[in-house]
């Protein structure tokens, strides 16, 4: 495990070293949150609630999105695609190292920095908007939410890892990854709560792992589901995680076998 811990520490140093990239990333995320906040504020207008969400809950949903984006939606997909396409992955494959563990360590470093930044941003936004947030009082809710978010983050990581591994077979795997990320934003509830969607579409999405990444964890946080239901959802999340982990490992292992180690 020590190697992954050292990789995490080095990646942390490198993330902090790339100051402009970090600042640009944060500004981009901040702009999305401000847009969503303005959009939902306009929709709610003078009403006390909208689609079953009070003003405080909706504001919390939007602000929680900022933290969840930083924690859940930061995989190493593009890095994997780039390293396979350029052949740089060779240098990892010949070392006594599990590439996915290494990538996960790097991802954790990225998450550490981005989550810290997003909490700071959310604090500023909460202060600017008067601080009317929904914060659960029951410690069990925090525990369930934390568990759900960790599982979400791992589901995203391995799902993205699996799609990025297509780069072993094609030099055009950036396409599927781009589509995945775009669809993900919508299907995970990262633009709006999925309650907005027609029931049939929502039911269809619930058959996929996407709603488990943002929508369900935030509903757990907002105590929109009972503890029993939250536990059931976490169980389903664990099943999805097992499925995407197995899928990612299988695709990656097959990819490595058919890898042509491009370039001299």
């Amino acid at each position: 495990m020590k190697k992954y811990w050292v990789a995490y520490q080095i990646a942390l140093q490198e993330t902090l070293q790339r100051r402009s990239t970090l600042i640009m990333d944060r500004l981009g995320g901040f702009a999305i949150v401000v847009s969503l906040y303005s959009f939902w504020t306009a929709l709610i207008g003078d009403k006390t609630s909208f689609l079953g969400y009070t003003r405080a809950e909706m504001l919390t949903y939007v602000l929680a999105l900022n933290i969840l984006r930083s924690f859940v939606f930061t995989g190493r997909g593009w890095q994997l695609v780039g390293e396979i396409s350029s052949g740089k992955i060779s240098s990892y494959l010949i070392r006594p190292l599990h590439y996915y563990g290494y990538a996960l360590a790097l991802d954790m470093a990225q998450k550490t920095v981005h989550v810290a930044a997003s909490i700071f941003e959310v604090a500023i936004l909460a202060w600017l908007t008067g601080g009317a947030l929904f914060l659960p009082h029951d410690p069990a809710t925090w525990l369930l939410f934390g568990t759900a978010v960790v599982l979400s983050s791992l589901i995203f990581f391995f799902l993205e890892f699996m799609i990025s591994s297509l780069a072993f077979w094609t030099s055009e795997s950036g396409g599927p990854l781009f589509c995945f990320e775009l669809f993900l934003q919508f299907a995970a509830g990262a633009f709006f709560p999925l309650d907005v969607l027609p029931l049939a579409l929502r039911k269809a999405l619930e058959m996929t792992p996407f709603p488990y990444m943002v929508y369900f964890p935030v509903r757990v946080f907002l105590e929109k589901v009972s503890s029993a239901e939250a536990l059931r959802l976490i169980g389903l999340e664990a099943l999805w995680l097992a499925a995407v982990f197995t899928g990612a490992m299988t695709v990656f292992a097959r990819g490595v076998r058919s890898y042509s180690a491009e370039g001299g």
Partner: protein
Amino acid sequence: MPLAIETKGLTKDYRSPIKEPGLWGGVKSLFDRKYKDTRAVDGVTFKIEEGELVGFLGANGAGKTTTLKMLSGLLTPTAGEATALGHVPWKREPAFQRSISLVMGQRSQLWWEIPAYETFKLNQAIYGLDEADFRRNLDELVDLLQLGEHLTVPVKKLSLGQRMRCELAAALLHRPRLLLLDEPTIGLDVVMQKAVREFIKSYNKRSGSTIMLTSHNMTDVVELCKRVIVIEKGRLLYDGQLDKLVERYADHKIMRARFTTDVEPADLETLGTVVKYEDRTVTIEVPRAQMAASAASMLRSYPVADLNVEEVAIDDIVRRLFSHK
């Protein structure tokens, strides 16, 4: 001596898409993609003993790098067998991975934004080196490669030569028993090339590690390798001592004569092939069997001030092999 590497009929095919030229070719390939199979390595068989330093030569695309990639476990062969340090490389067993290193001159394992020392610390953890071993190996490499102050500078700020030396240090920290070097001096200036060559030679002597090296720089090969393996279009062309290449592939010798007066170069064609005539000095390629007669004729018929007979330079022979002459 135990064997470090043994291959039998090692073969690797690559599959790549074919696209007809132009926009229409692009549209067609969208619906009807055709593929071409290319045999990069074709039934290569050789053995290398532990501690040997072997040059692996061939023109671009001859299959050198593909062979190295199979021996390091990066690629699985289409056919044939190989063992390296007693392991089947492409099974990627950790014990094997801890004993080898592959350095590709054009690739980097160093982290770009931070000093090379951090990559060394990561490799310490990856290869499970304890602090004492890490310190000892690092101190030795820093000394041999003159890394000194470069260790604390972000890698992106280093020159190519400094980076290459850090790259070598990163690859050797765990003291691999088998070192595969692919173009280790590519892009370096002559001073750095010499430093890297001297390091490789000294590392081979000190550690007794087996080294297999590919290079287009003939000075690397001539100075480092007694034995060479030459491949062409994926097939083994020659495996043996470097100096024996001369006997096998040079069917002629070089005769150089300096004259006291001007001589008509065309007249000298009866002695062999005139390569150059300049300042009353001629260079002639003479078939081996005809050498004694040509030298005698030269001395007898021309106003010779000085006469030399030489073997063809090794790098010339290898260059000829590369260029399929």
